[in-house]
């Protein structure tokens, strides 16, 4: 029996549109397990790489590791984790690990990546490698030679500053962040102000669509920004989905999230900076995220603004 | 046990100490009795009897450490203290009898422990 331990769940095969359908970055991508083709567990999506192009914002890669996670932990703890990571990293000027989206083969309960990415990612796990060498392999009965070649370890130390792509081929499976990239985490939780300056919420979700539209997932274009009065519970899955059960919890969470609103990302001013408040422009037409689901991809607001 | 500030609390301490001692003595008696009837093996009985003996020490100590707030409480302290001390002695004797594997001694211990437990239980009920 061929049993793999990645997300081999029924849903995937019945929804091939999954890959081109809208992706809620926080709910469906962030904090999910990354899995290799043979079921190997390769870390969580600790952050998402966000770059700007002429048309707006693109999610171009998964960020994995303590450097990325530290950005999402509260103040002193996050700084401490970052400092420890810098100190213990073998390279003199370490950069966070980014896995380009092109190497993602499917998005389900786990994010599956291809073999090259899996191998490259494994070689970035410093703690695992150190413990393997100094502790676990010293214990009697330690089996499972991973076949990590020196070449792969050398590759992990090579940190190019730009993604090198050859026409038609995939980029390097693991690289440093692109110039001018930042983490999606720099957007989440930031205050959103109405045109008149009143606080209307904090960013809780960014809904993306495939870019370019088609089969290969090279990047995701961020289309909508969702903000909420109460950040707690925003990752549960109720904000974007009006039918998520159970009934009692749904009703309570709906009351809690009744002031959630979604706007097209073009109407949000201030994303270029990584700190400070964001503001909606005059033409923004906020509506409740549950209304968005009905006309996802349409691009035009069909419902009157709330 | 917290230091008692009034008679009521002191009496509650006494009840608590007596109940613990009743529990320890009856457990020890039960273990010995079962061992004599060859219902439990020696290591098991020994562990239980020793644990009961070890348990009464702290009970005696913490009861004795509290000052009685009134003269009648002082009489109570002496009475209960004596009972607890007897219980401690008996539990030690039980352990010794078991280690010596002396059936007659053990049977005597069972009787004494049971009698002592009765008296302490009655005293405790009298106080509540």
């Amino acid at each position: 029996m061929n049993r793999t331990r990645n997300g081999r769940h029924a849903v995937e095969s019945s929804e091939p549109a999954r890959r081109t359908g809208p992706h809620d970055a926080v709910l469906r991508l962030l904090d999910h397990q990354i899995v290799g083709p043979d079921g190997a567990l390769l870390g969580n999506v600790d952050d998402l790489e966000l770059v700007s192009d002429d048309a707006g914002w693109l999610v171009t890669g998964l960020m994995v590791g303590p450097a990325a996670l530290s950005q999402r932990l509260p103040g002193p703890l996050g700084r401490w984790v970052y400092a420890v990571w810098r100190r213990l990293h073998p390279a003199s000027d370490p950069t966070p690990v980014v896995l380009p989206l092109a190497h993602v083969t499917s998005i389900g309960s786990a994010i599956e990546v291809n073999l090259a990415a899996a191998q490259a990612l494994s070689s970035t796990f410093g703690l695992e490698l150190w413990l393997r060498e100094h502790v676990i392999s010293r214990l009697p009965g330690a089996t499972g030679d991973t076949g990590d070649t020196e070449q792969q370890q050398v590759m992990s130390k090579h940190s190019p500053s730009t993604a090198e792509t050859v026409a038609g081929a995939l980029p390097l499976p693991v690289r440093a962040p692109l110039e001018g990239a930042r983490g999606l985490s720099s957007l989440i939780g930031r205050a959103v102000l109405a045109p008149d300056g009143t606080l209307v919420g904090r960013v809780s979700e960014v809904r993306c669509v495939s870019h370019p539209p088609g089969h290969r997932l090279d990047a995701l274009r961020a289309r909508w920004v969702v903000y909420t009065r109460h950040l707690a519970g925003s990752e549960l899955g109720y904000s974007m989905n009006r039918t998520q059960g159970p009934a009692l919890v749904r009703r309570l969470v709906r009351m809690w999230q009744q002031h959630d609103r979604v706007v097209e990302i073009e109407h949000v001013i201030g994303i270029e900076t990584t700190q400070g408040d964001l503001q909606l422009d005059q033409t923004a037409a906020p509506r409740h995220p549950h209304d968005l689901s009905e006309d996802q991809g349409a691009g035009q607001a069909r419902h009157p603004p709330l | 046990m917290a230091p008692a500030l009034d008679s009521g609390a002191f009496q509650r301490n006494a009840i608590h100490a007596l109940d613990s001692a009743v529990s320890d003595t009856r457990t020890s008696a039960l273990a010995l009795q079962n061992y004599l009837a060859a219902r439990v093996p020696r290591p098991y009985a020994d562990t239980v009897v020793t644990e009961s003996e070890d348990a009464i020490g702290p009970v005696e100590d913490s009861f004795g450490a509290v000052d009685p707030p009134s003269p009648s409480d002082k009489r109570l302290r002496d009475e209960v203290g004596a009972l607890l001390s007897d219980a401690g002695d008996e539990l030690a004797a039980a352990r010794i009898a078991l280690r010596r594997n002396d059936p007659a001694e053990m049977m005597q211990s069972v009787k004494t422990l049971r009698g002592l437990a009765e008296r302490m239980e009655q005293r405790s009920e009298g106080l509540s």
């Binding site: 049993r3 331990r5 997300g7 081999r8 769940h9 029924a10 849903v11 019945s14 904090d31 999910h32 397990q33 190997a40 567990l41 390769l42 870390g43 969580n44 600790d46 994995v64 999402r72 932990l73 703890l77 389900g108 309960s109 786990a110 796990f125 695992e128 413990l131 393997r132 502790v135 676990i136 392999s137 330690a142 089996t143 499972g144 991973t146 707690a232 990752e235 549960l236 899955g237 039918t243 998520q244 059960g245 159970p246 919890v249 | 109940d19 009743v22 529990s23 009856r26 457990t27 039960l30 273990a31 079962n34 219902r39 439990v40 290591p43 098991y44 562990t47 239980v48 644990e51 239980e121």
Partner: protein, 409 residues
């Protein structure tokens, strides 16, 4: 035929593996002090663990995600981290108590000082977790745990007043010499002993270890709905035996030796041998489960490779955590702390930590993109929601009750 055998094995393993040191100590203590007037809590806890184990097992089988993956996904890294600290602390506390329990059982068998046993047991648990295959581990200790059936046999042999026992159980009352707060404190403790958080980590991670798929849902449900309740009945038998032998004598039960003694009284030395085997299997098995669960929770939060289903060198961080936990557990126990007291605290703190893990499971079990058609039906949701409320009530009430009753004095 083979499938039937697998189901039977699973059920028997579930029965024998249900009881751990928390169930042994809490049921013995409560039976001796409150009779059977708190049995309703044990039943409540059994149904609750069935509901949530089935849900977490289903999520693991269908999506391949174990509990702590879900905690981080649905609560985010910050709340997830708090959750991780709390869950790991409780699981580690339970792990320490279980190892202590093994040492106590060995003392009863050999009269050798438990402090000499503790390092041996710690090393043995770690070696088993390092070398022994997952399925062998589960099956061996689960089946050996069936020896605890002696408590049911003992109860029958003691020929108690069944009518009186039934009256105690069916009309819950607070004994005249106990306060209401103490009664409810022990209700929370019993509930925490029946619905331990680690059970859900272990069950769902174990499902991934064993490579469950949607085809295995039937077997999984048989294990849960038949195995767990029968295992829970063993807990009730332990309480009933204590109620019959110790309650009339006013004896407070706070040692493992007291809990097992009635079995000798009824069944002699053979009974003692079986009950000691049962104690050993229950505590050693649970020590393995909690030790693994400490590793599972941190590995799943951080996305590390975990599990015994991969070769040890491929999961170095996971195995390092398990090794470290064993060392810490032995260290803590060697400070001469009383394992029984640790157990009593661990069950109450388990009750406090319950909602943290059950809530994400309930939410994810309702997520169609994960579960497809195996999403929660109405029954699962009704029970799941009811238990969410119960679990929250228990969690909120636990610490205040502990303070007011000074941990059950």
């Amino acid at each position: 035929m083979k499938k039937l055998f697998a189901i039977a094995l699973g059920i028997l393993t579930a029965i024998g593996g249900f009881v751990d040191i928390g169930d042994l100590v809490t049921n013995g203590l409560v039976g001796a002090r409150f009779g059977l007037s708190l049995v309703w809590v044990v039943l409540l806890g059994i149904i609750g663990i069935c509901v949530f184990a089935e849900m977490s097992g289903r999520v693991a089988a269908v999506s391949g995600r174990a509990t702590f993956d879900l905690v981080r996904e649905r609560l985010g890294p910050r709340v997830g981290l708090l959750n991780l600290f709390a869950s790991m602390a409780v699981t580690l506390l339970t792990f320490i108590a279980e190892i202590g329990g093994v040492a106590l059982a060995l003392q009863l068998a050999t009269r050798v000082n438990p402090y000499l046993w503790i390092p041996v047991v710690g090393a043995a648990v770690w070696i088993v977790l390092w070398r022994v295959k997952f399925a062998v581990l589960e099956n061996a200790f689960g089946l050996a745990g069936l020896a605890l059936v002696v408590f049911a046999v003992t109860l029958w042999k003691l020929d108690p007043d069944w009518a009186d026992l039934w009256r105690q159980a069916s009309r819950p009352f607070v004994p005249h010499d106990e306060s209401h707060t103490t009664y409810f404190y022990y209700a929370v403790a019993l509930f925490g002993a029946a619905m331990t958080p680690y059970e859900v980590f272990f069950f769902s991670s174990g499902g991934v270890e064993e490579g469950w798929t949607s085809d295995d849902l039937g077997t999984m449900r048989a294990n849960v709905f038949i195995g767990f309740p029968l295992g829970g009945l063993l807990s009730v038998a332990i309480a009933a035996v204590a109620a019959v032998v110790y309650l009339p004598q006013g004896v407070e039960v706070d040692t493992l030796g007291q809990i097992g003694m009635p079995v000798g009284q009824a069944l002699g030395v053979l009974g003692i041998a079986l009950v000691l085997l049962g104690f050993f299997a229950a505590t050693f098995g649970a020590a393995c489960e909690t030790g693994l669960s400490v590793g599972y929770s941190i590995a799943q939060y951080l996305g590390w490779q975990w599990g015994k289903f991969v070769a040890p060198l491929k999961a170095a961080r996971f195995h390092s955590v398990v090794l470290l936990s064993a060392v810490v557990a032995v260290g803590v126990l060697l400070t001469t702390i009383d394992p029984i007291m640790l157990t009593e605290y661990s069950v109450v703190f388990s009750a406090v930590a319950l909602p943290l893990t059950y809530f994400p499971i309930l939410v994810v079990a309702n997520d169609r993109t994960y579960m497809g058609r195996d999403v929660n039906g109405r029954l699962a949701n009704t029970l799941g929601t009811v238990y969410l409320v119960v679990v929250l009530v228990a969690a909120v009430a636990a610490i205040p009750l502990m303070i007011v009753t000074k941990a059950g004095q």
